[in-house]
């Protein structure tokens, strides 16, 4: 893999080997699957939504969705409480009812941008170990940045990273491969941030 670089005309390039692209695509797909039951059109095929019916439109006007932190700790970390004080439980619940589906929809969309943008790279005819260069727009790079973060947060939850000390790992690791992936994705995120920084030194925010 070569890390992200800004392109002279705008956007970014990166090069992944086929197994790297497959891994990221698989992880992004899992994020989409993890969250889609909470999305505004649950149960539909990913990427193939039925046309909006009048009932769908009416449904979307009502607040719906969860009232409290999700039982799954990974989802709870992706959709945390907005009010820290227990006395504000009603406000937290209201906030969640009105915002959760929007947040979920955007996270699923980001994950699908990653999957779709990698699809061309995961060509069965691709020579193994050859890093295929890809190009991203600014908008896609934003999706990658957020989607990679969601993947890292989920892996961290699954392998029990709860404190700064947990990040280093131990000899008793039950999931050493996932931990390596977690760190590799951190490196990839740093690379993308560095490229975005270099791009915006030319064109400030």
């Amino acid at each position: 893999m070569t890390g992200f670089s800004p392109r002279p005309g705008g956007g970014y390039t990166v090069a992944f080997e086929r197994h790297e692209a497959s891994l990221i695509s698989e992880l992004a797909g899992q994020i989409a699957q993890l969250l889609s039951p909470l999305a505004s059109a649950p149960g539909g095929e990913l990427g193939a939504r039925p046309p909006l019916s009048e009932q769908d439109l009416l449904d979307s006007l009502e607040a719906s969705g969860s009232l409290a932190l999700h039982e799954d700790p990974a989802i709870a970390r992706l959709l945390p409480d907005a009010y820290g004080d227990e006395a504000d439980a009603d406000s937290a619940s209201d906030f969640r009812r009105y915002t959760e589906q929007g947040i979920v929809d955007r996270k699923v969309a980001n994950a699908l941008v990653i999957v779709n943008s990698l699809a061309a790279s995961i060509d069965v005819n691709m020579t193994e170990n050859l890093a295929m260069p890809m190009e991203f727009t600014e908008a896609q790079a934003q999706s990658w940045l957020r989607g990679l973060t969601d993947i890292r947060l989920t892996i961290a939850s699954r392998i029990g990273i709860e404190t700064e000390e947990d990040v280093q790992g131990s000899n008793n690791d039950t999931a050493p491969f996932l931990r390596e992936v977690y760190h590799w994705l951190g490196y990839l995120t740093e690379s993308l941030l560095s490229a975005i920084d270099r791009e915006h030194d030319e064109h400030p925010y």
């Binding site: 970390r77 992706l78 959709l79 945390p80 409480d81 907005a82 009010y83 820290g84 004080d85 504000d88 906030f95 915002t99 929007g102 947040i103 955007r106 996270k107 940045l145 957020r146 973060t149 969601d150 890292r152 947060l153 961290a156 990273i161 709860e162 404190t163 700064e164 947990d166 990040v167 951190g186 995120t189 740093e190 941030l193 560095s194 975005i196 920084d197 915006h200 925010y205």
Partner: protein, 100 residues
């Protein structure tokens, strides 16, 4: 005809009454977590909140060392939007009343 000497007192009283009537400001708190990169938090503070590089770094380090930092203030509605945006980024943020 008003007398110049009485005007300033009247304005000061009005300002005080207006302050008491204003909605109490709310704060956005960003909380430390072991997953998010310092560079990512700093980037969000620059690109979303518009802090310059030095100020973004300073606030990011506050989050890192103190466990959390206030990064914005506003009405409840404004601050709820900021918290929602932070959750979009994968940061953990909460809102609370400014004098809590």
């Amino acid at each position: 005809m008003c007398q110049a000497g009485t005007m300033p007192q009247t304005i000061a009283e009005t300002e005080t009454r207006a302050d008491v009537g204003l909605e109490q400001p709310w704060l956005v708190l960003v909380w430390n977590d072991p997953v998010n990169l310092m560079s990512y938090v700093s980037y969000i503070f620059r690109s979303y909140f518009g802090f310059d590089r030095a100020e973004a770094e300073r606030r990011m380090m506050l989050v890192h060392t103190e466990g959390r930092a206030a990064v914005a203030a506003g009405s409840r509605e404004e601050v709820e939007r900021h918290v929602e945006a932070m959750h979009d980024y994968g940061l953990w943020a909460t809102l609370q009343k400014a004098d809590a």
